[in-house]
Symmetry: C2
Subunit: 693 residues, 2 copies
Amino acid sequence: MVKILIFGLTLLLSVQLFAQDRTFDLMPVPRAITPTQERFRIKKSFSIGIIGDPGNRVYKEATRSLRRLDDRMGFFFKQGIITSGDSLETADLLIYVERPAELNLYEDESYELKSDSEQVTIDAITDLGAIRGLETLLQLVSVDNEGYYFPGVEISDEPRFPWRGYYFPGVEISDEPRFPWRGLLLDITLHWMPIDVVKRTLDCMASVKMNVLHLHLTEDQMFGIESKVYPRLHQVGSDGNYYTQEEMREVIAYADQRGIRIVPEFDLPGHCTSWLKAYPELASVKRDYELQRYFGVFDPALDVTKDYTYVFLDSLFTEMAQLFPDEYFHIGGDENTGKDWARNPDIKAYMEKKGMTTYRELETEFISRVQPILEKNGKKMMGWDEILRPGVSHDIMIQSWRGTESLVEAAKNGYTSLLSTGYYIDLIQPTDYHYLVDPIPANTDLTTEQQKLIVGGEATMWTEHVTPETVDSRIWPRTAAIAERLWSSDTVRNVDDMYRRIDRISLLLEGLGSTHIKNKAMLMRRLADSYDTKALEVLVDVIEPLKIYERNAGDTMYTVFSPYTKIADVATPDQKVAREFRKNVTAWCSTQDSIPEIRILANLKIWKNNNSAFRELIKHSPVLSEAAGLSENLSRIAAIGLQAFGYIKNGIAPPVGWKEKNLEITEKAKEQGGRCDLQIVTAIEELIETAAR
Amino acid sequence: MVKILIFGLTLLLSVQLFAQDRTFDLMPVPRAITPTQERFRIKKSFSIGIIGDPGNRVYKEATRSLRRLDDRMGFFFKQGIITSGDSLETADLLIYVERPAELNLYEDESYELKSDSEQVTIDAITDLGAIRGLETLLQLVSVDNEGYYFPGVEISDEPRFPWRGYYFPGVEISDEPRFPWRGLLLDITLHWMPIDVVKRTLDCMASVKMNVLHLHLTEDQMFGIESKVYPRLHQVGSDGNYYTQEEMREVIAYADQRGIRIVPEFDLPGHCTSWLKAYPELASVKRDYELQRYFGVFDPALDVTKDYTYVFLDSLFTEMAQLFPDEYFHIGGDENTGKDWARNPDIKAYMEKKGMTTYRELETEFISRVQPILEKNGKKMMGWDEILRPGVSHDIMIQSWRGTESLVEAAKNGYTSLLSTGYYIDLIQPTDYHYLVDPIPANTDLTTEQQKLIVGGEATMWTEHVTPETVDSRIWPRTAAIAERLWSSDTVRNVDDMYRRIDRISLLLEGLGSTHIKNKAMLMRRLADSYDTKALEVLVDVIEPLKIYERNAGDTMYTVFSPYTKIADVATPDQKVAREFRKNVTAWCSTQDSIPEIRILANLKIWKNNNSAFRELIKHSPVLSEAAGLSENLSRIAAIGLQAFGYIKNGIAPPVGWKEKNLEITEKAKEQGGRCDLQIVTAIEELIETAAR
C-alpha cells in the first residue's frame, strides 16, 4: 500500500513538472504564457495591495482570494479585510485597476499577470479583469521540495513554522477571453435548487472564468420567483419553493461581486402550466390546471390572441425588469406544441382573420408584441432558436439548442447568438465531446464580421433527473472544459492535457464548495446503508447513467416525487476508471507495454472478484438489487477479459467458437441495469478480438 | 479484501439481529417497547393516511417522511403530496392526531406506535407527538433475507422489481419525553453560519426528537440579525453577514414544521462590541469600537445607568419580540467583566448614589429593568446563571453553564432552569462523557416538585473554531447522545449500546444532510491536495483536536480570519478507531482473546508503517508539516507496541530498562502537534506495563 502511494505521488509530481512547461495546471488556458525560472515564495507575511480606480468588487474578491489561499496553505496570514488603505506598492501581490467595470456583454475582462522572485502583479483595465487574474493566480500555487520539514531522529515537539515550499512560478501571462458570453443555464424548476446551490455554483463558475448564470425560472412544474404584482404565480404556481425577491437580489449581488451576470428566463408561450394554474384566464384551453409532475413537452400554452395577456405580461415583466439588472431578458419561446391553440376556436378564428396559416406565425406575433414591453424596460429580448423569425428586430439574442446551423443562420441574418447545442451537460456525455464542440467551427464560411455575432455559449443544466444532492456532479468538472472552450484559443484542443488539468481543477472546485466528489461517497453510503461501500464503489467506477434521453424511457418513469438516490444517481458521467481502462487496453493491444499491462490486470482481477462482495451488499441493502445484473455482467466479462489477456500474453490461439461465444456475452453486457450501463464492454471486446486475431 | 468485507457484513448483520431484541437501533430509546414476531413488509404501494384533527404540520411531515423512506428504499412510491384527502383508514401507515399543538414548553409530545403484518399506526394527542413517532418509524426500517434477488447463472436483463426485504418490525411503542426542553445552542456570531447550515441542523435535530434551537445572535464579533428600527446594528455591526427578517421568518417556519422552537439570544450587558460600533452612545467607555476579531471575554459593556439605553432596548426588543414567536427571549447576561463600568466615573457615581457596592448589583438592576420590557411583549426572560439574582421575578429561565449546583440553587429558589454544563460540545469531549451527564443526578436531594423545575438541557455549539464546513462534525453524532439523555429514561445508560446505536444514527444523519462524514473526506483531500489521502486518514483516525480550551492557547492564536482547514479541523472528537483500540488493548491484556488480538496487531502494523507514506504527503502538501511530529510519534509508539505485544504473546520478559526507556517515549508522544494529540498513547503504555509485569 505504502509503495503504491509513493509511486503514485512521484508520478504525480513528475507529471506536474512536465506540465509546467506547457499549460501549468491552468484551466482555462490563458492566451499567452511565458514562464521564467524564478519563484515567488509565499510566506506568512504575504500581503495584497490595490491601486488605481478599482471600485468595490476587487477589494472583496482580493480578500476572498487571500482567505482561499490561506485555507489551502494554513499560514494564518495577518491581513484581514482588504480596504482602500491597502495600497502599498511594495505589497507581495499588487493589483492595478484602471476603472470599475460595467457588468455588460462586451465589457473588458483582460489582464496581465507577472510574477518574479520579488513580487506578483496583476494589471487590468477593469476590476473584472483583475478578478479573472486572481483566479489564474490561485490556480498557479505550486509546491517544490523546499516544502517539507521532518523532525530528526529524536521525537520533536512542533515542526518548524511556517513551513516552506509554496510558491507562485515566475510567469508573464497576457490573457483575455475569446468569447464574451460564457454561460451556464441552471434550471431550478424541474427540481428546486435552493440558494446555497446557486451560490456554490457561482463560486465555481467564477473560478473557471464563466460570466453568465442563466436561471430558468418558470416551467410547467413550477413558477420559481416571487412576484409582488401577481403573487398567485409563486404562491399557487409552486409547492412553496421559489426565490423571494430579497433572495434574488442577494444572488444578483453575489454574482456581480464575482463578475457574473444573472439572466432570468420566463419560458413562454408554452411550458407554462404553473402560470395557468395560478391564472387560468391566461390559458388557451379551459381545464383544471395542476402543476405538472412528469417531465417532457406538454400542450398548455398562453392565449396569445388576447390583449389582456399582454397587459398581464407588461406588468409582470416590468416588475421583473426592475428586479433583474441585466440587459438581457430571456423569454424562452421553445417547444410550444400548438395543440392547445388548435383546440381553441377563438384562436383559430383570430388566426384566420389575420391570415395566419401556421402556429409559427402566431408565435412570431407573440414575440413581436412582447419585445416592445422589454424594450420599454431597457431590456434586450433573448430566446431559444424558435424566436428567430422573419421580421423580428435585430436587437435580440438567439440561444441555439438545435445546432450550429441556427447560429450560422442567425449570424448571416445579422442576429447575435450563442451556442448551447453540444453543451447539454444533463445528457451525461463525456467531457471531451463537449470540449471539442466549438461555437465557430474551424471550417466556418462566416465572414469575420458575422463571426463576431456569435458571442459564446452556455452549458445547460436541466434538472429533470438531479436534486441538490447530485446536481454538482452533473455540472462539475465537465463544465470547466466548456468554460475553457469559450475562454481559450480555438487551438487549445489537446484532450489528454485537458483531462490531466481537469482532474486537478476538480479538486479545487471541491475545495470551493462543490459537492461533486464528496456527495458521491455520501450517496454510496446511503445506498449501501453502510460505511463500507467498497464493492459498490468498484461497480460505480465503471458504469454511467444512461445517456441522452434514454434514462427516462418514454418520459413516464420519473416524476418530481421519484427517488433520485439510486445507483443511476450515484454514477457520474465520464468515469475515469473506465476511460483509462479503455485507453490502456487500446495501448496494450498494439504495444503490449508493461505499464498499461499492470493496470489492466489489476482492474480485471478486482472486477472479476467483485460480484460476490456486491451480492452481500444487496442482502444488506435490497435497493441495490437493480444493479445485480450489472455486477454479475462486470465479473463475467472481466473473467473473459482475463482469458483473452492470457491468450494474447502467451501467444496462444483461443479454441474455435471462443470468440463468438464470448462476444455474445459482451453484447448482452451492454444492456442497462438500474438505468446505467457498463463502460468497459468495448474494451473487453477489443481484448477478445485481439486474442482471436 | 472481499473476504474481509463479507466478514464485516456478517458481523454487522448479526449485531443488528442481537440488538433488535433490546433497543432496536432507536435513538433516543423510547419509554416502552414491546416487540412482536410480526413484520410489516414495505412495498411500492405503501401509502399514508391521516385522520383526526391534525392541523397542517403533520401533512407536510408525513410527505417528507414518505420521500425520506423512498430515498432509502427506491420504490418510487405513488403517493405525492399527502393532503386531507388522504384519510383512508386502511392506509399502510395510519396516523391519528387529536389536535394541532401549540409550540410551547410543556406541550404534549407523546405518541403510540404499533405495527403488525397488516398495518402501522401512530396515535398522538398532538401533531408534535405524531411527528416524533414518524421519526421513530423511520429509524425502525429493517431488512431481512427476503431482501435480495440475484440473476440466475445466465446473464439476465433486469432484476425483479420491486425488490423485497424491507420491513417494519412488529412493535408496540409507547413514548414520551423525560424533559420538555431538549435544545441545541447554535452560535452564529463567532463564525457566521448561513441559513442552509441552520436548516440541515434543524432536520437532524428533529430526527433525534430535539425541540429547541437556541440561536446566539449577537456578540463582540458581530450582530447577526436585521433590525429595521436600528439598522446600523446589522449594517455597521457586521461584515455583511446577518439573517434578514424574511430569512429568519423562513427559519422559524421551517423549525415549527418540525416541532422545534427557536429561542433568540441577544447577549448583554457585556459581549456587545458590535452594538457599540454601531451605536457608540450606548457604551460605558468612549473609544473607537471595531468588531472584535479575537475570541474571548472583553471589557466593552452597555452603559446600563442611562435611561436612553432602556429606550433603545425597548424599541429593539419590541421589534424582535414580534419577529420571534417563542415565549422565551434570551438576554445572555454572562461574562461582563465590569472593567468598563469601573472606567466610567458617571457609572461609579450612579452606583454610589444608589448605594451599590458591586457591579453584580448594577447587573441585577439591569436585569430587573429589562424584564418588564420583555414581559410587556409577552415574553419570559431567559439568561445564563448570572441572571439568577436576589429579587428577580420567578417567571424566568436560568440556563446553567457553571454547573449543576446552579440548577439545584435555582430549583430550591423556585426558578425554572436547564443544564448546559456537561453539554459543551465545542470542547471536543467524548460522547460517553456528555451521555452520562444528567440534569437531575440520581443522588439529587431535590423534592419531586423542585425536580420538575429542571426542564431539560441544551448542547452548546460555540463556533470559535468551526466554520460551516466543520460545524456538523462538532455537533453530530455526539449531540444525538445528549438528545437521548434528555428524552429517554434516566435508566438508559448503557454506553456500549449507545455507541452501537449512534454509529447507525450517524449514517442516517448524514443521509438527512449533515456533512459530518463527507466533509471530513473533503477536508482531507484539500489538506493533502490529493485524491489519495490514505496516509493522512490513518493519522487522523487516531488523533483528536486539543480539548476544553487548550486549542487556542491564551486566546491569541486564532482570529475570525484564521484558516480552519488544517489537521485540527479535519480531526473530529471521539475517534472510533482510537477508542476501539484502547478497548481492545484493555480486553486483550487481561484475556488474550484472539479477536482483539487480531485487531490490535492490524492497527499497530498499519501505524508503524504509516510515517513514510505521510512524509511523502508532506512533500506534496507542506501545510501537513505541522503534523510531522504526530506522525513520527505514531509510528514510533506503534513499533514499541509491537515489541510489547511480542513479549506478552511469547511470555518473555523484556530486558532491564526497556519499560522505562519506552515510557519516556510514550510520555513525549502525548505532546500536541498541529493542535491535536494522539489518542492511543495510554493504550501503548498499557501494553508496555503488561509486558513488563
